[in-house]
C-alpha cells in the first residue's frame, strides 16, 4: 500500500510551475483523447490552441471571453483566500445581467454619457444583492455558503428565463424570448476596429491590478489572508470573521454582477435566456490555475478563454462535439489539483510507522 506524507517545505518554484505542468499534462491527455476519437491529434491541438488566436479578430475574441473570467476569477481568488467558498458566481453573474439589462431597457432610446455607468452600476448591484443573501445566511444562521450560493444560481437562471419570456420580451420580436437590442449609448465602446474587444477588457485588467494591491498592500487584504489561514488568530488580533465573510462575498458578487452586465452591454447587446456559457463556474478553475493570485487570475483567465475559443473552432473545423471544451477545462483543473497534491505530499510505501 502507498501513503501520502506531507513534505516539510514544498518547493516554492514548483508551486508556481504547477499550472504550466498541468497545462502540459492536459495537452498530453488531449493527444490521447483526440487519437481515440479518430482525429489527427496535431490538427486537433492546432485547431484548439493556435487557430483561434492567429488573427487579430481572434485575439479580440480571446479578450472578449477572458474579460468575465478574469473579473470573476480575481474576486473568487480573494474569497477563497478568506476561506469563503462562493461557488455560485454564475448566479451572481446572471443577476448582474438581469439588473443591468433592466436598466439598459429602462434607458432604451435615450442618449447621454451617464447611461452606461448607471447600467454597469445596476449590474454590480444585482450581483451584490444575490451574494448578500448568501452572506446573510452564512453569518446569521451559519448556513454553508457552498450550498446556498449554488442553489441560488438555479434560482437566478430560472428568474432570467421567466423575465426574458415575459416582461423583458421584445414587443416587436415575433414572440422570440429575447429583449430589444440595446441602444448605442447602452453599449460598451469597441477598443480596436474590426474586433469585438471592448472596454470591459480594460476594466478586467484594472480589477486584476486592484485585487493584487488589495491583497498584498492593504490591511483588508491582510485580514482576508489571516482569516482564511487561521481564523482564531484573526479573532485574537481583533479581526471580525463576519466582516470578512461579507466582504469576500460582496467582492465576488459585485465582480460577477459586473461581468454579467459587461456581457450584455459588450458582445451580446440584448438580453437572452443564455447569457453565459458557465463563466461563473469556469472562473473557479481560473482562480485555482492562477494560484489564488489576482495577477495569476489574469493569465489563467486568458488560458481558459482560449479553451472556449478552441472548443468552438474544433467544433466547426473537425466536427468535434462542444463537450470537448468542458472536458479540456475539467482536465486542466484535475491535473492542477493532482500536481498540487504531489507538490505538498510525497508518496511512500506504507510502513508500520503509522502515528
Amino acid at each position: 500500500m502507498l501513503q501520502l506524507i506531507k513534505r516539510p517545505s514544498p518547493s516554492k518554484a514548483m508551486v508556481y510551475l504547477s499550472p504550466v505542468l498541468a497545462l502540459l499534462l492536459t495537452l498530453c491527455a488531449g493527444l490521447v483523447l483526440f487519437s481515440l476519437m479518430g482525429v489527427s491529434p496535431m490538427a486537433a491541438l492546432k485547431a484548439f490552441f493556435v487557430t483561434p488566436i492567429s488573427t487579430t479578430y481572434g485575439l479580440g475574441e480571446l479578450w472578449v471571453k477572458a474579460t468575465p473570467l478574469i473579473l470573476i476569477g480575481v474576486a473568487l481568488s480573494l474569497g477563497f483566500r478568506a476561506g469563503v467558498w462562493n461557488i455560485g458566481a454564475e448566479g451572481q453573474l446572471l443577476m448582474g445581467g438581469i439588473f443591468g439589462g433592466a436598466a439598459a431597457l429602462f434607458f432604451y432610446e435615450k442618449t447621454g454619457f451617464y447611461i452606461l455607468p448607471l447600467i454597469l452600476l445596476a449590474g454590480i448591484l444585482g450581483g451584490l444583492f444575490w451574494a448578500s443573501i448568501v452572506a446573510f445566511l452564512r453569518t446569521q444562521f451559519n448556513a454553508n455558503e457552498i450550498l446556498t450560493s449554488l442553489m441560488l444560481t438555479y434560482v437566478a437562471s430560472l428568474l432570467l428565463s421567466l423575465l426574458v419570456h415575459g416582461p423583458f420580451k421584445d414587443p416587436d420580436g415575433f414572440n422570440f424570448p429575447e429583449s430589444r437590442i440595446f441602444s448605442d449609448s447602452a453599449l460598451l465602446p469597441i477598443l480596436f476596429e474590426g474586433t469585438r474587444m471592448h472596454f470591459g477588457a480594460i476594466i478586467a485588467v484594472l480589477v486584476s491590478l486592484g485585487g493584487w494591491l488589495l491583497l498584498s498592500k492593504s490591511l483588508l487584504g491582510y485580514q482576508i489572508k489571516v482569516m482564511g489561514d487561521a481564523p482564531d488568530a484573526g479573532t485574537h488580533a481583533g479581526f471580525s470573521q463576519k466582516k470578512i465573510i461579507w466582504i469576500a462575498l460582496l467582492l465576488s458578487g459585485g465582480a460577477a454582477g459586473l461581468a454579467g452586465v459587461i456581457e450584455l452591454t459588450g458582445p451580446i447587446g440584448q438580453i437572452l435566456p443564455n447569457i453565459s456559457p458557465g463563466y461563473g463556474f469556469a472562473a473557479i478553475i481560473v482562480a485555482y490555475v492562477g494560484r489564488l493570485h489576482p495577477i495569476g487570475a489574469l493569465f489563467a483567465g486568458l488560458l481558459l478563454a482560449l479553451s472556449y475559443l478552441g472548443g468552438e473552432t474544433a467544433q466547426i473545423k473537425l466536427n468535434l462535439p462542444l463537450a470537448v471544451t468542458g472536458v479540456f477545462q475539467g482536465m486542466l483543473l484535475f491535473f492542477i489539483l493532482a500536481c498540487d497534491v504531489f507538490i505538498h505530499y510525497q508518496i511512500k510505501p506504507r510502513s508500520a510507522s503509522i502515528a
Partner: protein
C-alpha cells in the same frame, strides 16, 4: 519463583531516528531493569517522545535494536507492543467525552467485552492500586486527574510488564501528583517496570531509581538518582548551569491598571467553561498569577479580557480606569492591553505566514504599521528585526513561516511582539509551556522587567513553580471561578493545590 533469564527487561542499542532537518535520536542506548522506575530525562526537544514512540511501535527506527525480555524484537505497531507487554499512558488522553468510563476502556481494549464484567474488573483494579474511579460516570464530568486514571487502568487491564508514562504530572494538582506516586510505587512493588518521562527533577528525585538523561538527541548519562541532586541532574540535562533568576523584590505598586468586576460569561460551547463572578485587580508594577489545572476557564478568561468575546456590561473589564468590557480587541489594544494566548500556532500566530506578516497581526495599531488602510512593509520589517534580535529568536530569516520555528523560539517571538508595543497591561497564558529552560528564563525575566517599568502583568499558568518564582500575588481558577488571592510568599504548594482543586479560603487556613 524462577529467576528470569535476563536482568534487563528492556535494552535499547544505538537507536537512531532522523526527521527532515533534524536528528531526533542519535544512537541512544538505554537499559531498564525489571521492577525499576526508570526516568527518561531531558528538555523539550531532547528526543524523549521520539524514543518512546519507537518503543511503542508508533515510529519506525532508522537504525538500532530493541531487546525485550532478552530477545531482539522488531516492534511494528502499538498492537504488537501491547502484545509483548508494553503499555503506554500518553500525555494527551484519547477519550470520548460522551461515553462512560467503562465504554471508553472497552473501546481502547478493542476486543468484545461484557461491559458488566469489565466494570467489576475496573473496580477491582481501582481499589487495589488506589485509583478511585466510578466506572459508570461519563468522561465529560471527570477531572483531568480522573481521566488520567482511566488511561492507567486501561493499561493495567492488559497486565503489562512495562508501562511507559509520558509527562504524567503536567496536568495534575500537587495533591493528585502525590496520589499518583503512591500508585506507581505500589505497581513497582508488584514487579511492574515503569519508564517515566519527565523534565521535572524533583519528581524524578521522589520516585525514580535510575535516570537516563538525553540532550539534543544524544544520551549524555545514565545515573543512580539517589547519588544525584536536582542541581547536578539539571546540569546534565542542560549542559550548563542555569542562570539564577533575579530575585523578585517587593514592587512599588502603582494605580490599579486592570480590574475585573463580577465578570460573568456563559460558556462558548458545550465543552467550554462559563466564567462565574470573576473579580480581580492588578496594579501597575505588579505580577499576579492565576494557577489552575487546564480546562478550568483559563482560555475563556483570556478571551474575555482580550475582547475576543464581549462582556454583557462594560464595567466588567476596566483597563486604566476605562470601562472596556464592550470594547473591541483593537480598542482595548489601543488603550494599552496586550495578550499572549496559550496556543501559539493558530491563535497567537498564523502558521503559514512569515514572521514579517505575523508582526502585523497584533502590533499594527500601537506601532503604526498601517496608515489609511495600507501596510507600511518597511516599518514592519524594522519592528520584526528588533523583536528577533532583542529576544534572541532563532529563525532561518524574517520570511520564515511561523510554523517552521521551534516552540521556544516562536514563544519568544510572540512575547517579544507584545513587549515591543510597551503594553500598560499584559495578560499572558502559559508563557513558558513547552519552552526549553534557557528560553523560559529569558521570557520570565522579560515579564519581570515589564512590570518593573510600571505595567500590570497577569500570568495564567499551570506551572506552579513558575508562578511561585515570578508573581507577587497568586490565586487559582477552578471551574470558572477565581479563588481569593494571597501574597505569593505567604502560601505553600499544598495550599495552592487546594486552591486549584476549588477549596475556599476557610479550608486553606486549616492547612497553614
Amino acid at each position: 519463583m524462577i529467576a528470569p533469564k535476563y536482568t534487563n527487561l528492556l535494552e535499547l542499542h544505538a537507536m537512531r531516528k532522523a526527521y527532515p532537518g533534524c536528528l531526533a535520536n542519535d544512537d541512544i542506548d538505554l537499559d531498564l531493569r525489571a521492577g525499576e522506575i526508570h526516568a527518561l530525562l531531558g528538555e523539550n526537544g531532547a528526543g524523549k517522545s521520539t524514543l518512546v514512540k519507537m518503543i511503542y511501535g508508533l515510529l519506525k527506527p532508522d537504525a538500532g535494536e530493541i531487546i525485550f525480555e532478552g530477545k531482539a524484537v522488531n516492534i511494528t505497531s502499538p498492537a504488537m507492543a501491547r502484545g509483548l507487554g508494553i503499555a503506554m499512558v500518553f500525555q494527551h488522553f484519547s477519550l470520548f467525552d460522551s461515553l462512560t468510563v467503562t465504554q471508553n476502556i472497552a473501546l481502547g481494549i478493542g476486543q468484545k467485552h461484557d461491559l458488566d464484567g469489565l466494570s467489576e474488573q475496573i473496580n477491582a483494579i481501582s481499589q487495589r492500586y488506589g485509583l478511585p474511579l466510578d466506572p459508570q460516570r461519563h468522561v465529560y464530568s471527570l477531572s483531568v486527574g480522573e481521566r488520567q486514571r482511566i488511561e492507567i487502568i486501561r493499561c493495567l487491564l492488559q497486565q503489562p510488564k512495562l508501562m511507559v508514562m509520558d509527562e504524567p504530572t503536567s496536568v495534575l494538582t500537587p495533591q493528585e501528583v502525590e496520589k499518583l506516586f503512591v500508585t506507581l510505587q505500589r505497581l513497582c512493588d508488584e514487579g511492574l517496570s515503569i519508564l517515566y518521562i519527565s523534565h521535572k527533577l524533583d519528581e524524578i528525585k521522589a520516585i525514580c531509581h535510575r535516570a537516563t538523561v538525553l540532550r539534543d538527541g544524544k544520551r549524555v548519562a545514565c545515573v543512580e538518582v539517589a547519588d544525584e541532586s536536582p542541581k547536578t541532574m539539571a546540569a546534565l540535562m542542560m549542559g550548563e548551569e542555569l542562570k539564577t533568576s533575579s530575585k523578585r523584590v517587593k514592587p512599588k505598586l502603582g494605580p490599579v491598571r486592570l480590574q475585573l468586576d463580577a465578570l460573568n460569561m456563559h460558556a462558548p460551547d458545550e465543552l467550554g467553561m462559563a466564567l462565574k463572578d470573576i473579580s480581580l485587580r492588578v496594579h501597575g508594577g505588579e505580577i499576579v498569577g492565576i494557577a489552575g489545572v487546564a480546562g478550568n476557564g483559563q482560555d475563556e478568561l483570556l478571551q474575555a479580557i482580550n475582547g475576543e468575546r464581549l462582556c454583557s456590561s462594560a464595567p466588567m473589564v476596566q483597563i486604566d480606569g476605562q470601562d472596556a468590557g464592550q470594547m473591541s480587541v483593537s480598542q482595548r489594544r489601543v488603550i494599552g492591553l496586550s495578550s499572549v494566548p496559550e496556543k501559539r500556532l493558530g491563535h497567537g500566530a498564523v502558521p503559514s505566514m512569515s514572521l514579517l506578516d505575523n508582526t502585523l497581526l497584533t502590533a499594527y495599531e500601537r506601532l503604526g504599521l498601517v496608515g489609511k488602510g495600507w501596510i507600511d512593509h518597511q516599518k514592519s520589517r524594522t519592528v520584526t528585526e528588533q523583536i528577533v534580535s532583542e529576544h534572541d529568536v532563532k529563525a532561518t530569516g524574517l520570511s520564515a513561516p511561523a510554523s517552521s520555528l521551534s516552540g521556544g523560539n516562536l514563544q519568544k517571538y510572540i512575547v517579544g511582539r507584545e513587549l515591543q508595543q510597551q503594553p500598560e497591561v499584559l495578560v499572558v497564558s502559559q508563557p513558558t509551556w513547552g519552552v526549553d529552560a534557557g528560553a523560559a528564563q529569558n521570557i520570565r525575566e522579560a515579564l519581570k522587567a515589564l512590570a518593573k517599568k510600571g505595567a500590570a502583568v497577569l500570568v495564567i499558568s499551570q506551572d506552579l513553580d513558575e508562578l511561585m518564582e515570578i508573581t507577587d500575588r497568586i490565586g487559582a481558577i477552578c471551574a470558572g471561578s477565581l479563588s481569593s488571592f494571597y501574597a505569593t510568599d505567604t502560601v505553600n504548594y499544598e495550599q495552592m493545590g487546594l486552591l486549584m482543586a476549588g477549596a475556599q479560603s476557610g479550608e486553606l487556613a486549616a492547612v497553614s
